[in-house]
């Protein structure tokens, strides 16, 4: 059966060159980078090369990169670590309504512990207004955390403007850039970002690796205690093969970012427009054009439910998602779509296609051929669609 993977925002395959490099570090250059001997030194050297590669893609210096076990840990480290370091300065925190669970739940945890949290709303396209952030800042605000690009609807946030604001007010600024990293140009200097989360498995690197950019001079308290690795910011034997793979993936994606983005924008628009042309009662979620991630398509297909769509697509070999990977396992409609003002019914019928480097025009054609049939079948079964057709007939 044909298999078309359109879920790159959930995770990506590891690039073959990256995987081959990792193999060497699993089976031959397997030393512990803390060790004094040659095995240790060669691992350490490669680790530092990876740090340089990651830093370069962010516009940071290698010393500002702390490797973690993934985006979730980096988000937690950024938020809990900052709050632990600055709690004497204030207890007010700011975030947006459309953050990833790793950010949102961490803030909710802190709110329960007694911190005060302002959650900035978004407009119907899923974008935060800078003015709302400005109004939310108080003298006791210690942290602002706003994601760069949303994982569900692909909306790109005005990070540079928020960065300016944060700098003006002397508030630490964290950005979850897991979805934009390697897809959009990022420069932590120009954007005035103090802390930034990135993750390897979204850019054709291995799972279980991420990094937190920590601007020189910004203090965070580590989450875990132990071996003093990563300049005491992240203890535990370093996942050298994973980190080296991440570094290589950064290097590779950095070289072709603009080109790749252009290709994906084309496929994205072909898919989005194709769906709108072929299926009635469809709503695009998120912004159009430049304010949208190059690889994100998100539509709500009314009168049908997301999981049914996913299962039906899957039977035809098409892998997609409904909301974020985490959301699709649960029954709650996406908090992102609700924050954008969608009613529950429509939020339930959301479908995300996220493109990747191997996707082709043919893949899109196949989806556009199959999806209308699937929707038709599911709508025939749906008591909601029923009412619509009856109303239409009555008119």
């Amino acid at each position: 059966m044909r298999r078309i993977y359109l879920d790159h925002s959930a995770t990506t395959p590891v690039d073959l060159e990256v995987a081959a490099l990792m193999m060497t570090y699993y089976t031959e250059k397997y030393g512990n980078p803390s060790s004094v001997h040659g095995f240790g030194r060669e691992a350490k050297q490669a680790l530092e090369e990876a740090r340089r590669q990651v830093a370069e893609l962010l516009g940071a210096t290698p010393k500002e990169i702390t490797f973690t076990s993934g985006g979730t840990e980096a988000d937690n480290l950024a938020i809990l670590g900052t709050v632990e370091a600055l709690q004497k300065k204030g207890k007010h925190l700011i975030t947006s309504a459309i953050e990833h669970h790793a950010v949102l739940e961490t803030f909710e945890f802190l709110e329960k512990k007694g911190f005060e949290l302002t959650v900035i709303p978004v407009d119907s396209e899923g974008i935060v207004a800078v003015e709302d952030v400005r109004k939310a800042i108080r003298p006791d605000t210690i942290l602002i955390s706003v994601m760069h690009a949303n994982n569900e609807v692909g909306s790109i946030q005005p990070i540079a403007e928020i960065g300016n604001l944060a700098k003006e007010h002397g508030v630490t600024f964290h950005v979850d850039a897991v979805q934009s990293f390697g897809k959009l140009p990022i420069n932590v200097q120009e954007m005035n970002i103090d802390l930034m989360t990135v993750s390897s498995h979204k850019i054709y690197g291995p799972k279980g690796v991420g990094a937190l950019y920590i601007r020189k001079g910004v203090r965070i308290v580590p989450l875990a205690h132990g071996g003093s690795q990563e300049k005491r910011r992240r203890s535990g034997t370093e996942n050298t093969p994973g980190i080296i793979g991440f570094g290589k993936a950064c290097e590779l994606i950095g070289k072709q970012m603009d080109e790749e983005a252009e290709l994906q924008r084309k496929l994205r628009d072909k898919l989005m427009n194709g769906i709108l042309e072929r299926i009635e009662h469809v709503k695009v979620n998120g912004p159009l054009g430049e304010k949208r991630l190059p690889n994100n398509v998100n539509v709500s297909i009314q009168f049908v439910e997301g999981e049914s769509l996913l299962l039906s697509l899957d039977m035809l070999g098409i892998a997609a998602s409904s909301g974020s990977a985490c959301t699709s396992g649960s029954l709650d409609p996406s908090h992102v779509l609700l924050a954008m003002g969608l009613v529950h019914e429509i939020a339930h019928g959301s479908l995300r296609f996220s493109l990747g480097s191997q996707n082709t025009e043919e893949d899109i054609d196949y989806v556009l051929e199959q999806l209308p049939k699937i929707v038709e079948r599911l709508r025939m079964m749906s008591p909601l669609y029923d009412q619509v057709t009856k109303c239409n007939q009555a008119e």
Partner: protein, 125 residues
């Protein structure tokens, strides 16, 4: 995630549609939770002669709807009333835990349809 039987019922759902001459209709769930099931019954005497369903919902919701229609066709009302959500899930070879409470409502819809039929009968009397 789902058993083969669930996938079979999801892919080839039995008895999808409406019954023009239904004398018992029951609906449960709401779109807010992501699941709506409507069951149509054609009852003659005590016997369920025909049954159809329409469902908006996830794989489990469709499969349980389909399964319950298979289970009741030709049965007496009393037999139908004994069918529970749990027995529908069992007939499907089980459901993922997260789906047990939210999407496994087909038996409830059936019972509601039977209730609707009985109400009508009472009114007629």
């Amino acid at each position: 995630m789902y058993t083969e039987k669930v996938m079979d019922h999801f892919t080839n759902p039995r008895n999808v549609g409406e019954l023009e001459n239904a004398n018992g209709v029951g609906e449960v769930g709401n779109a807010k939770c992501g699941d709506i099931m409507r069951i149509y019954l054609d009852i003659e005497g005590d016997i369920i002669k025909d049954v159809k369903f329409k469902t908006f919902g996830c794989g489990a919701a469709v499969a349980t709807s389909s399964m319950v229609t298979e289970m009741v066709k030709g049965k007496t009302i009393e037999e139908a009333m004994v069918i529970s959500n749990a027995s529908v899930a069992e007939a499907l070879g089980g459901l993922p835990e997260t789906k047990m409470h939210c999407s496994n409502l087909a038996a409830d819809a059936l019972h509601k349809a039977i209730g609707n039929y009985r109400d009508k009968q009472t009114k007629k009397e």
